[in-house]
Symmetry: C2
Subunit: 280 residues, 2 copies
């Protein structure tokens, strides 16, 4: 059986190349796509993520507006910052880095972001639109997973897809997107009984659970497509890659799988939002 | 094995009895809960449904404001009516009867309803809130299904639930609600391969497909809970009741199952919305 190694870096490159002309077009109209990132507090991993996203913007000709707020920022203060960005015509996308300090109402803050600028796909309204089939900006990791499947011509229709995880920005929206592509979707989680037995039936397995090497080789049906959306400390995914490689017909590595495509989807959504703002 | 016949009329009665005091309280503050129903066109079944809902309101002390628009109403005209109701402090809930005539953008109309008055659970924003776990007014049939399970102490946690159907107001939201109650959820539909095989694994089966007697007795695992959310011409459900009765540990009939509870949830949501408006 030929084995397909799903190369996220290649998919990311193709997406980013596709943005070049669009960004030039926008700039010829004196519009520079702009992503505002909001970081609250001093969590070092969050700082790294935000910096990575900002750098990816700048490398691709997208303006990165970095807002760094102190840990003691209140929910009300954060909402004010978001509101200012909602009304700023130079800003096309807003990303609030998760997690915010515990005293802030994160859900309220997410839902304060205008759906038109919700390029990271965190609002509940945007989630509803995505799940009902007409969302503009699904969360970036689910969007990346669908893009990788599309790039490698892996059809979801009629397939049995098992999603492990049900977070608001990963497990739930990727379940919704797979369902909208006519997969039959099983959403699994920590309370699922007999998880291995369910995974063994899957044509497509999406690991989005946040536990290193959680998905075992013995769980994978021969010929299944294995998508690892996990990213744990030390660059380790949610899938035991070496163990699953033998069974899978196609598999994403970590790093170099879904990760780079996720950032590309964020850039793409920001350009989409800038174009939408121009034609409004 | 003792067989549980899930009696929707009884559940409905309990819900409606629970509303009496709350409605009296509201009236003592000079607030009468009010549901506005909008019917566009002359579809006889839709007329019947709207009348049924209006009568249920009146019987329970809830004001029913019936708005009947001609078939040739445009989307813009419908949006204006909805906007007026959104701003009318005497109106607590708005129900736009589905389906509207084909020339109207139904999704746009649904999404124009204020989430605070979306007691029928049709907006995409409300769906997103429900799916992410904090929705005030899930669609009434999914809410009714969860209420029947709760009433009969049937826990969803850890169970494998198979939902047949993925409509925006039934299959998708009931899948989301079951998932939030820690069931493992398989959402199935017309493109599902080997549906009977999946149903045979289910501890809870929800039929929401709109095809008379679609779910066969041979599909049901012994001891499964069978919920029939279908309602087809001639008072026929989506489940072959007689055939499934032998296998199931609990089952809802049609009529007298989920139907009456659905209307009760609409009344409850209207009272909820009136109370929320008072405390605002």
């Amino acid at each position: 059986m030929s084995k397909l190694l799903l190369d996220g870096k290649r998919v990311a490159e193709v997406i980013q190349n596709g943005l070049k002309d669009r960004i030039s077009q926008l700039k010829s109209k004196n519009v520079t796509p702009c992503l505002a990132t909001i970081l609250v507090g001093d969590d070092p991993s969050s700082e790294t993520y935000v910096k990575m996203k900002g750098n990816a913007c700048e490398r691709n000709g997208i303006k990165s507006l970095k807002i760094h707020l102190p840990t003691e920022t209140t929910t009300e203060e954060l909402l004010e910052v978001i509101q200012t960005l909602n009304h700023d015509d130079y800003v096309h996308g807003i990303l609030l880095q998760h997690p915010v300090p515990a005293h802030i109402d994160e859900r309220k803050a997410f839902d304060y972001i205008s759906t038109k600028k919700d390029v990271d796909g965190v609002t509940s309204a945007g989630y509803g639109q995505t799940a009902l089939g007409f969302g503009q900006y699904p969360s970036c990791t689910p969007a990346a997973i669908m893009k990788v499947l599309e790039f490698y011509n892996i059809a979801a229709e009629g397939k049995l897809a098992v999603v492990i995880g049900r977070s608001p920005i990963l497990g739930k929206p990727v379940s919704a997107l797979l369902l909208n592509e006519n997969a039959t979707v099983i959403t699994c989680h920590s309370k699922t009984v007999n998880l291995p037995e369910l995974v063994r039936q899957a044509d497509i397995v999406v690991a989005a659970v946040g536990k290193p090497k959680f998905v075992q080789g013995t769980w994978i049906k021969e010929g299944a497509v294995v998508i690892d959306a996990g990213y744990n400390k030390g660059n380790i995914g949610d899938v035991d890659y070496e163990a699953c490689l033998g069974q899978a017909s196609a598999i994403t590595p970590v790093p170099g799988g879904i990760g780079p495509v996720t950032i590309s989807m964020l850039l793409k959504h920001t350009v989409d939002a800038a174009e939408a703002a121009v034609t409004e």
